[in-house]
């Protein structure tokens, strides 16, 4: 087995980038799970809706690309709030399993909606860019080609995560979010409108998922209504990996998952086709060995 350092560096970067995108979606899973104990199955599909909004914003309405992305973020944030109000809010006091089934239903609904209104076929995302060459330019250092797009994505991911941390740990609404994840009834007694804060959480996490989706589409440009399924599941795995409920854990878990995936492919190129299977095996191993994840708190179930 000969390991080519060029390929190693490229794959490491790729892994970091994909991991960053997992992290962006994983943060959404972990925030919603932390508050509602609900796996919002639909985040992968929200991510795809983000891609569609940006794509149609740029191609149909002819907005400039940054504006189209902004519109897409706002649109998916709204979508997140609507999903919460219509589908999850009526079930706040039902058994957790009903909420999970509903989340699956919502995911299925968004996929079907996209098939009906946007068509079942693959679409080329790069049509949304005025200048497509940006997606193919690379920095060349010696014989190492480093695609510029990777650095752009890494930069934006870092900024988005920084803003998220500021919101969650340095603002009033962030404090309310953290309070709700600790104890909902007490928080509402303190005069905090729980529903609004939950809505806000859905808005932020959906917008992050959409941002991740747009960047995903920049790197892997053809997309269709089921594109979000695998990244969505993997982001959930990343959230569990890092310790569900912990935002820092989701970031660490996402990046680690991305890098591990790419490293396995680099070391064992023959396993390339089975790439998507590793994440699930990692999930099982983590759950069996360290059920609370890397940074999660252990909770004891009281009878």
């Amino acid at each position: 087995m000969s390991l080519n350092p060029t390929i190693l560096i490229q794959n490491l970067l790729n892994g970091l980038m994909v991991g960053g995108l997992y992290a962006l979606i994983a943060v959404g899973y972990t925030m919603v799970y932390g508050i509602l104990r609900l796996i919002n199955f639909a985040f992968g599909d929200v991510m795809v809706m983000g891609i569609y909004f940006a794509y149609y914003g740029a191609t149909l309405i002819r907005l400039s690309f940054p504006l189209a992305v902004t519109v897409s973020l706002a649109g998916t944030a709204l979508l997140g709030i609507v999903i919460d109000r219509l589908a999850y809010k009526p079930l706040r006091n039902s058994p957790r399993i009903s909420a999970l089934i509903t989340a699956i239903g919502v995911s299925f609904f968004i996929e079907s909606f996209a098939v009906v209104f946007f068509g079942p076929n693959y679409k080329p995302f790069l049509d949304a860019l005025e200048n497509k060459t940006i997606a193919f330019e690379s920095f060349v250092i010696g014989n190492v080609y480093l695609p510029k797009i990777i650095f752009i994505i890494l930069g934006i991911t870092a900024i988005a995560l920084f803003i998220l941390f500021v919101i969650v740990y340095r603002t009033k609404i962030g404090m309310a979010m953290r309070a709700i994840s600790a104890d909902i009834p007490t928080t509402s007694l303190m005069g905090i409108n729980v529903d609004n804060v939950i809505g806000f959480t859905f808005a932020i996490s959906s917008a992050l998922a959409a941002l991740a989706g747009v960047m995903w589409a920049l790197r892997y440009p053809s997309f269709y209504p089921y594109t979000g399924f695998v990244p969505g599941l993997k982001a959930f795995i990343a959230a569990v990996f890092g310790g569900i409920g912990s935002i820092g854990g989701a970031v660490v878990g996402g990046i680690l998952l991305g890098v591990i995936e790419m490293m396995i492919i680099t070391l064992f190129p023959t396993l390339m086709q089975y790439k998507d299977a590793f994440a699930f095996i990692i999930l099982i191993v983590i759950l069996l060995v360290k059920p609370a994840g890397l940074l999660g708190k252990r909770t004891v179930e009281k009878v």
């Binding site: 009903s98 699956i104 909606f113 086709q273 699930f280 999930l283 069996l288 059920p291």
Partner: protein, 360 residues
């Protein structure tokens, strides 16, 4: 006391007679359908029973044991591929495995449909046994995701094990063995088996686990062993349904929309529509689902509504069904039957009520 026991015994005997009569009645109806219906209608009728087996088997794990598994599509896929490889004649296999020739062991396999279906169930059950060890140690949402993950892993394997599954090309030319008798016959076997299981001490244990696993454990029920048992039995019938489904479709491939999570969602919709935890609900949910799927097909061809012409809408069926699914969960939480079953006692009571309100 003795008379009470006698009436109980008489009642069970009477119920048994009624059940047998009911099965004969359904069989006669099916025979009539077999003669009168065109081949498309017969196909739909078979599909109803296939969906019924899928729903009843998923209900055993998700509704009766209360373990939320999302891995059903994986077991159906395992059964479908196993039986298809067993019934496709060797000459046909030589023709479809074009990228890479079939593994010599597989290339020469050939059995009849019944054996293939049993083997399919067995392989699925074995798969569930192996997967169950890690997965069933988890609980709640984690178990759901892990089982979904494993069914995806199976699909990825089917996509890539070129010499066994023919990869993304799938298997074509599976003999069209599934007819009304095979599918409804297997549905009868499934229902008989699962209903007697639920009524046995094992079934009571499963229900106890559903209500409260910790309390069940405290009462001396081995929770892991019992959940594994229900998981394996459920997978066996999922494999059987997969075999019937493969010989109904005649072409199978590992695409996300054929054996991916979408199929699990379908089965989940059937079970939830009928009422999670109810065997009769699952069957009626499945029949309803198959009917709706075919009826909604009219929107996927050009159609007229209120005198206006509309073009075909691709994917409309899924949209309507997913809306129905979400609305059921939110508004009509328990589905058609909740956890209740259709029993002869229930029907008797209902008829009494009717008679009383009729005489008034």
């Amino acid at each position: 006391m003795v008379t009470a026991m006698r009436t109980m015994k008489e009642k069970t005997r009477r119920d048994l007679t009624l059940t047998v009569l009911f099965v004969i009645f359904v069989a006669i109806l099916l025979q009539v359908a077999n003669v009168k219906f065109d081949s498309y209608q017969k196909q739909v009728l078979s599909l109803m029973a296939i969906y019924g087996i899928m729903a009843v088997s998923l209900n055993l794990v998700n509704g009766i044991t209360g373990v939320f598994s999302l891995g059903h599509a994986g077991f159906i896929l395992l059964g479908a591929y196993t039986s298809a490889l067993l019934t496709i004649p060797p000459e046909q296999k030589a023709m479809i495995f074009i990228i890479e020739p079939a593994h010599p062991f597989i290339a020469n396999l050939h059995t009849d449909f019944f054996t293939a279906t049993i083997v399919a169930g067995g392989i699925s059950a074995l798969g569930a046994f192996i997967i169950g060890f890690p997965v069933l140690r988890l609980s709640g949402d984690y178990l759901a995701i892990a089982s979904l993950g494993f069914s995806e892993v199976l699909r990825i394997l089917a996509l890539n094990l070129q010499s066994i599954t023919n990869g993304s090309l799938g298997l074509k030319g599976i003999p069209n063995h599934t007819n009304i008798w095979w599918s409804w016959g297997w549905l009868l076997v499934t229902v008989l088996f699962i209903v007697s299981l639920v009524k046995s001490s094992y079934g009571r244990a499963l229900l106890a686990i559903r209500e409260n696993p910790i309390a069940a454990e405290a009462m001396g029920i081995n929770v892991f062993k019992h959940t594994l048992l229900s998981f394996v039995i459920s997978a066996f019938f999922a494999g059987v349904s997969g075999s019937l489904y493969a010989h109904w479709l005649t072409t199978i491939d590992p695409r996300i929309t054929t054996f991916g999570p979408v199929l699990t969602y379908y089965v989940l919709i059937m079970v939830v529509l009928g009422g999670l935890g109810s065997v009769s609900g699952s069957i009626i949910g499945a029949i309803l689902f198959a009917f709706l799927m075919e009826w909604l097909r009219m929107f996927e061809q050009p159609f007229t509504l209120f005198g206006r012409q509309y073009p075909a809408i691709q994917g409309m069926r899924m949209l309507v069904l997913s809306v129905l699914f979400v609305v059921t969960m939110i508004v009509w939480k328990r589905g058609l039957f909740g956890r209740a079953e259709i029993t002869w006692d229930g029907i008797r009571k209902l008829m009494k009520k009717f008679r009383r309100s009729g005489s008034r």
